[in-house]
């Protein structure tokens, strides 16, 4: 199977093609679409069952939403508390204003500990700052340890989901990747055998590589503790066996108190994987003599987040707990998978998070990658009103367009400005209806339907017909009827 450059997704918003272009190779890839739809249907069915059995689900959502909003309103306070408690417990806290600084701090720490290899727990922040290619260029080998991440790393593929990053790859493709890269010619495509191959492949790395990198699901201000939620046990390996642990966490990840986990842990696994609880949750505060890493560093990553706090609508984005329920329910994501979003954060949350992380300089097509169906808001365990944020970001994109000279060539822009001119006067609107009716006759076939429209209209008629305009609008009929009655 040959793979063209166009087929290889770019997950860097600075270079990725706009969403409508990026979807084209995906939509024409039957295997990828089947893999995505299958995975999504399985997760959705499990989530549906487990949410339905939780009689206090809406109360948990309300509590989770209020708690996350409270954190953001008091973020500085809680971050400082986390810093002081974590430091008191023997940890070291670093602050990174942007991706470059976070990468550099990580590299400096690795150099301090003479690390040439590092094992990693799946972390979205690391993907966000594109840490692996940077470390590789500096001569440090980063070894992913989550099964899906190994599949991607060995297969040189890009993640397409934030919880199940390799959901676009099926078992025979995994078999091919493992057989080729691990030198296992006789490997079958039985998921159990493939999983065992990964277990054996990683065991030595866990036991011998003394430095690890993780993200964080939670930072707990009260205790200075960090929490990691996982399924496979690779996280526990990385948290327990190495001498040095570097945790890269977004500044929004903080929770006020240990007890707050009673909310977050009840909503996270149900939303993410359709389980009552994920197999392993690990919590640790700083350094514990004799148990686990004796050098512990937390890098608090801003990278655009503090800017999102400014207004309540956009601020909601930071309530996110990265459960992926929004992408699992999204009818757009179900068709496209994650690659088309051109970001490590796909789906509805990616559509609002990515452009904001880019300070609205890139990924402007993402807020439009939604039919605004509202399913994401309905499932979000912390009640992020994603459609509301999408609309706000669309408005910011339009305001950028208003300042651009090229807008006069943008038919959509011109059309909408014109439409507003028409809609703000009944007389103009009715005149446009009459003119439109005359124009439509030119393209209406004998069956009364339009099969092909020029310009933007062609985007409609490429897959759908449009009924021709009726001879009489409703308001004309009403006026005629009123006249008759008199």
């Amino acid at each position: 199977m040959t793979q063209s450059v166009a087929d290889h997704p770019i997950l860097d918003p600075r270079f990725a093609p706009p969403f409508p272009q990026a979807v084209l190779p995906v939509l024409r890839n039957p295997q990828l679409r089947k893999n995505v739809a299958h995975a999504i249907d399985v997760i959705q069915a499990k989530r549906g069952r487990l949410v339905a059995e939780k009689t206090d689900w809406q109360e948990l959502r309300t509590a989770g939403s209020a708690l996350r909003a409270h954190v953001l309103e008091n973020l500085g306070t809680y971050l400082e508390q986390f810093e002081s408690r974590c430091t008191a417990a023997g940890g070291h806290v670093h602050w990174a204003a942007d991706a470059a600084e976070a990468r550099q701090i990580t590299l400096d720490l690795l150099r301090q500990h003479n690390a040439s290899d590092v094992i990693k727990i799946k972390t979205m922040t690391s993907a966000e700052i594109q840490l692996n290619p940077f470390l590789e260029a500096q001569g440090v080998h980063a070894h992913e340890t989550d099964l899906a991440e190994i599949i991607l790393q060995l297969g040189e593929q890009e993640p397409s989901h934030i919880v199940v990053p390799a959901l676009h790859i099926n078992r025979s493709q995994v078999r091919e990747i493992f057989a080729r890269t691990m030198g296992l010619k006789n490997l079958s495509d039985d998921p159990k055998e493939l999983t065992n191959a990964a277990r054996r492949y990683l065991r030595q790395k866990f036991l011998t590589i003394p430095t690890a990198i993780s993200g964080a699901n939670y930072l707990i201000a009260e205790t200075g503790g960090v929490g990691i939620v996982e399924s496979e046990g690779n996280g526990r390996m990385c948290l327990t066996l190495p001498q040095t642990m570097i945790t890269i966490a977004g500044i929004e990840k903080v929770l006020p108190r240990f007890q707050d986990l009673e909310i977050m842990l009840q909503v996270l696994a149900r939303s993410a994987t359709g389980e009552r609880m994920n197999p392993y949750t690990s919590l640790w505060s700083g350094v514990t003599p004799g148990d686990g890493p004796q050098n512990f560093h937390v890098i608090l990553l801003d990278n655009g987040r503090s800017e999102m706090l400014r207004r309540p609508v956009e601020r909601q984005t930071l309530k996110c707990i990265r459960c992926a329920a929004c992408m699992n329910t999204c009818p757009v994501y179900r068709q496209t998978g994650g690659h088309a979003y051109g970001s490590v954060y796909p789906g509805p949350i990616g559509a609002i998070l990515t452009p904001q992380l880019m300070h609205m300089h890139h990924a402007q097509s993402l807020p439009y990658a939604s039919s605004l169906c509202g399913a994401c808001y309905e499932v979000c365990p912390v009640k992020i009103n994603i459609p509301e944020v999408l609309l706000e970001l669309r408005s910011q994109v339009v305001n950028q367009e208003r300042r651009q000279v090229g807008r006069v060539f943008d038919l959509m822009y011109i059309g909408l400005r014109m439409a507003n001119f028409l809609f703000t006067s009944a007389w103009r609107f009715h005149l446009a209806q009459r003119l439109g009716r005359i124009g439509a006759r030119l393209v209406t076939r004998k069956d009364g339907w339009i099969h092909s429209l020029p310009s933007i209209g062609g985007k409609w008629t490429q897959t759908r017909d449009l009924r021709g305009l009726p001879d009489q609008t409703f308001h004309e009929w009403w006026a005629a009827r009123a006249k008759e009655a008199k």
């Binding site: 496209t336 807020p367 039919s371 609309l391 439409a419 809609f423 897959t463 017909d465 409703f474």
Partner: protein
């Protein structure tokens, strides 16, 4: 009971038969209907595409036209959702205090058609006769913004002769999404193809909804594909009787 019909811009232009059906239905139920001749658009297309200033102009216009109206009835759930979900934010940001007050007073008097029938008039049996197999498409705005819930099904259950089909994945979006259908035409078409599979599998003759926008999308594909199914707004089914079947109204 008096009510004023806000027909919406696209129903006025593209689907006047839906408006005529609303008139016939509501007059049959004893409602005295008005029609404001200066009405145009609620501003949804602009708001959903990011043109907030333009949407505001149209939203303000709506409030000014209807502020003295007893009851407004709208046969399009997405336009009602626009008013409930987006007008408050637009007026908060761009409007003044008197506009906000007028809107707050008007909003409780704005009804989507099925809300108007069940909540305002308190009828579920409107005396309709429609001897066909029908599937109901629960549009996203009806389900998740207006929470119409059982309302359309209650109305359909009382239509004599109607054979109601059940659709799989009933609350999944059809992919229309306003300008989404042309800005992201290919994804929209993929979503449409998935939806159409579920719709066609019901072997219904008609697919109905409370939004002609979704029906324009689904019906456009049905026509293109010779799918052997038609779309019809719920108002037209409810207006149909033995003496005046839907075809004659349309």
């Amino acid at each position: 009971m008096r009510a004023s019909l806000f027909i919406t811009c696209y129903n006025d232009t593209l689907y006047p038969e839906t408006g005529r059906a609303v008139v016939s239905l509501l007059e049959r139920l004893g409602v005295e209907l008005d029609f404001h001749p200066k009405q145009t658009c609620c501003g949804q297309m602009h708001a959903n595409t990011g043109f907030r200033g333009e949407a505001f102009c149209q939203a303000k216009r709506f409030v000014q036209l209807y502020r003295d109206t007893e009851t407004v009835v709208i046969p399009s759930s997405s336009c009602v959702a626009m008013m409930r979900d987006q007008y408050p934010g637009l007026f908060e940001e761009l409007g003044n205090e008197s506009l906000r007050r007028e809107f707050a007073a008007l909003l409780p008097r704005v009804f989507e058609l099925s809300e108007f029938l069940l909540d305002r008039l308190g009828v579920d049996d409107v005396g309709a006769y429609f001897p066909h197999r029908v599937v109901y498409h629960a549009s996203c705005h009806g389900v998740r913004a207006l929470h119409l819930g059982e309302r359309p099904y209650k109305l359909l259950a009382k239509v004599r002769g109607l054979d109601l089909a059940q659709m799989a994945n009933t609350d999944r979006c059809c992919g229309f999404g306003g300008t989404f259908s042309v800005k992201n035409a290919e994804v929209s078409s993929a979503m449409l193809a998935a939806k159409l599979q579920d719709v066609i599998a019901t072997r219904a003759e008609y697919c109905t909804a409370l939004d002609n926008s979704c029906l324009m999308h689904l019906g456009g594909a049905m026509h293109r594909q010779y799918a052997g199914m038609k779309t019809i707004h719920l108002a037209q089914i409810l207006a149909a009787t033995e003496d005046a079947p839907a075809e004659a109204i349309a």
